[in-house]
């Protein structure tokens, strides 16, 4: 689906983001690349280090492409685990205009 409007695509992250989910997540992100994207983390129950890597790399890629990457509706588990990993949620997002 083509978005002429600057509104972003949305990718709902699966509940379990463990190592078996990393490959699919990467693939999904690669197909959505080059356009603004909103990640919905409302269902995430578990986040593993490998999916975290993918998310961090995605943020770098979106920043390189100068496209917005945002997080929406983060679940409690998602935030707790990010905190455990020493990753602030805002380091996973990118906004073209300076905030």
């Amino acid at each position: 689906m083509e978005h002429i409007h600057p509104g972003a695509d949305t990718l709902a992250l699966p509940p379990i983001l463990d190592l078996t989910a990393a490959a699919a997540l990467l693939e999904n992100l690669l197909t959505l690349r080059g356009r603004p994207l909103s990640l919905n983390a409302g269902d995430v129950q578990r986040l593993g280090a490998q999916c975290l890597q993918v998310l961090l790399a995605a943020r770098a890629a979106w920043a390189a492409d100068e496209q917005d990457l945002s997080l929406a509706d983060c679940s409690e588990d998602f935030l707790t685990t990010l905190n455990l990993f020493g990753v602030a949620p805002k380091t996973l997002t990118y906004c073209k205009e300076l905030p």
């Binding site: 280090a49 490998q50 890629a61 455990l84």
Partner: protein, 704 residues
């Protein structure tokens, strides 16, 4: 079953294993045979129990395990010397830990004063093992500088491939103290080039915890080969604040020391505050116990290639194999009856089947065979407790823990052994003063040995005490009217008097072993297992109880005989030899009993059929075959039967369970032709030859 319940069950099973490991390790340490790895294993055992208990929010267990673990850590780091006092404390702590685990499993209660007392003792020894504590130590709640560790952790792809997870490690680390984590993404490749299963991140962790480096390394124990790990002390300026002050803090401020579980109950959803200077609340860890257990199971599976099997399944298999053996025997019988030649294909194939059946049976029995270790491991605790109660010093040495015996036997030797060991300490060993006076070390030695001997398991309990006071035993037996005052007894016969019912040599009846139901109960329960017990004693040097038991209670090698048309089985273990009696060698004795001359000696004869009431007439000795059997305590007799049909392995079917106990008959079995054959109770039959009261055979008295 509900998956959580199943995981919980697994946890408690693992706890039992860890407790066994703990006990074994501590014993090794106590004996001075411990290596560094032993101490590590002991530490790991407690650590694992603590970790698992945390998942299930078993707070009392976690708290005690933590104190215990901290002390062990001090031992490991060398700040606490393992003298006898400390070892004793550690051993008692292991007992309490076992109680706590069992209480948690069965939702039971524990003696909290005992637990608390041990915690205080730990505090004291940790202070002793230390330099004089600086004043701030008694005020841990004050803002004393907490030492910090700097940890750099870089996983490699195999770490993830083995289903380990950084998040879990970080969580585990957070149990040690507050952590501050930053992630280094320098090595992260471009999104399109990255391998989703690669490992590109490095975590830098600052851990504020007053723990040893090894405690941190333990967190990474299962992954240390699959990551780069650097641990440096961030505040090396405080060498005196090494392990131990946590405990010291606990001394005065026990509430401060373990607040998280309390907080946890009150506000279970409260997120951990970064500046909170206590270990974070448990809820995070509770999120994914499945994950943790799965990871644990994985690593455990890598270590040993064993499986846990429900006992019912094994028992069912034993039953089925028993049926198979019977069926195979019936088939052989049919083939024989059909008159098929021995060299024919059918007979040959049948023979092969017989071999296979036998092998299957042996293999199935081997599944059930267990080392006696599980029983032996309970004994050190018993020794400690009994020694403490009696004010004696005792050390237990075990040998042959690896000796295997069928589960049916294992289950039933614990009680007799417990009684015998209690007895050895309570009655066998002297008080430390008496021992020193006799020129022996104050600490008495109790030795527990297991070994295989001619198809039986032999268990020995020996002590290096004073030995049996024969004069007193005899005096007491006369006093109780068990023997006549003028009876001339050999030393061995006097020793064996203690197996008589109601016999206790202790001058005061203690609540340990002198309940008046002493060794005769042991003897009876051993006899019920088809076993024998005997004693040998050397005055001043101690006594040895020897227990001989069949390896299994499920099958038996027996000799098939016939007596007046009845088929009977005589356990092969009891048979010494078979012979063809000659009338000239038989002499009547005392009207009822005949004796046979055998290599210069005389042995009483028993007509099997007559003794079981099959016939009133005695068989003519020269018309029969004779089997020389040896009963309990080496008592011999010659059994007379009509014919011997051969040797066969039979599956034991309990007569008591299916019918009722019959004197002279131990059990029954099903023969090849489908008929039931009775298994002779050799001891009972042999007893009938000994009917004089003056003979101090315990059995005689029991026969009344």
């Amino acid at each position: 079953m509900d998956p959580m319940a199943a995981i919980r069950e697994t946890f408690f099973q693992e706890c039992e294993e860890q407790l066994a490991e703990l006990e074994a390790g501590l014993i090794l340490m106590e004996s001075g045979a411990a290596e560094a790895e032993t101490v590590n294993a002991v530490f790991r055992a407690v650590h694992s129990i603590k970790g698992g208990a945390g998942i299930f929010a078993l707070d009392a267990l976690v708290r005690f395990a933590h104190v215990f673990e901290t002390a062990l850590d001090q031992v490991r780091s060398g700040t606490l010397a393992t003298g006898p006092g400390v070892m004793n404390l550690l051993l008692r702590a292991a007992d309490v830990l076992a109680d706590l685990v069992r209480a948690a499993r069965d939702n039971g209660a524990v003696d909290e004063t005992r637990t608390a007392a041990l915690v205080v003792e730990f505090t004291q020894i940790s202070n002793l093992g230390h330099e004089p504590p600086p004043p701030p130590k008694s005020q841990p709640a004050a803002a004393a500088p907490v030492p910090a560790w700097q940890i750099s952790f870089t996983p490699t792809p195999p770490l993830y491939a083995k289903a380990n997870e950084t998040a879990l490690l970080l969580r585990e680390l957070r149990r040690l103290g507050p952590i501050e984590v930053t992630v280094d993404t320098t090595n992260l490749p471009e999104l399109s080039e990255m391998d989703p299963e690669g490992a590109y991140l490095t975590w830098n962790i600052t851990l504020e915890a007053d723990c040893a480096e090894q405690a941190i390394r333990n967190v990474f124990e299962f992954v240390e080969d699959d990551c780069h790990l650097e641990i440096t002390a961030a505040t090396p300026a405080e060498p005196s604040l090494k392990p131990g002050d946590v405990i010291t803090g606990d001394n005065g401020f026990s509430f401060e020391f373990f607040p998280p579980p309390v907080f946890d109950e009150e506000e279970p959803l409260a997120p951990p505050e970064p500046e909170h200077h206590e270990p974070p609340p448990a809820p995070v860890a509770k999120q994914s116990p499945v994950e943790v257990m799965a990871a644990k199971a994985e690593s455990a599976a890598a270590v040993s290639a064993t499986i846990r099997v429900d006992l019912d399944r094994v028992d069912r298999m034993i039953d089925l194999v028993g049926e198979l053996v019977i069926n195979e025997a019936m088939l052989s019988q049919r083939v024989l009856e059909a008159g098929i030649a021995r060299a024919s294909g059918v007979a040959m194939a049948l023979e092969e089947l017989e071999h296979l059946t036998r092998e299957i049976q042996d293999s199935v029995m081997a599944i059930r065979a267990q080392p006696v270790r599980s029983v032996f491991q309970r004994m050190p605790r018993l020794v400690r407790e009994v020694a403490a109660q009696t004010g004696k010093q005792a050390r237990l040495v075990t040998e042959g823990e690896g000796t295997e015996v069928d589960k049916t036997v294992i289950e039933r030797i614990a009680d007799p052994l417990t009684h015998m060991i209690r007895n050895a300490i309570d009655h066998g060993l002297e008080s430390p003063e008496k021992r020193l006076a006799a020129g022996k070390p104050a600490e008495g030695l109790v030795r527990l040995t297991a070994l295989h001997r001619s198809g039986r398991i032999v268990l020995e309990v020996s002590d290096d005490g004073a030995g049996i006071n024969r004069a007193r035993v005899k005096e007491k037996a006369i006093e109780n009217g068990l023997i006549s005052p003028d009876a001339a007894l050999t030393d061995d016969e006097i020793d064996n008097l203690i197996f008589l019912p109601g016999f206790s040599t202790a001058s005061t009846v203690s609540d340990i072993s002198g309940r008046g139901v002493g060794m005769d109960v042991v003897r009876q329960s051993v006899a019920a297992l088809g076993g024998r017990i005997s004693i040998s004693s050397r005055p001043g040097h101690g006594s040895t109880f020897t227990l001989s038991l069949p390896l299994t209670l499920a099958v038996l090698d027996g000799m098939v005989i016939s007596a007046r048309g009845h088929t009977l089985i005589i356990p092969l273990g009891a048979i010494v030899e078979t012979l063809k009696p000659k009338a000239a060698d038989v002499f009547p004795l005392d009207g009822e009993i005949n004796v046979i001359r055998l290599r210069g000696g005389y042995v009483p004869m028993v007509d099997v059929a007559a003794s079981l009431g099959y016939s009133d007439e005695f068989v003519e000795p020269d018309q029969s075959v004779a089997l020389l059997v040896e009963g309990e305590g080496g008592v011999r007799a010659v059994l007379l039967a009509d014919a011997i049909h051969g040797q066969r392995q039979v599956v034991i079917k309990s007569l008591e369970a299916n019918y009722r106990a019959v004197p002279g008959i131990a059990a029954a079995t099903v023969m090849g032709d489908g008929r039931v054959a009775l298994i002779l109770d050799v001891d009972a039959v042999v007893k009938t030859t000994r009917s004089e009261l003056s003979r101090p055979e315990p059995s005689v008295l029991e026969a009344h």
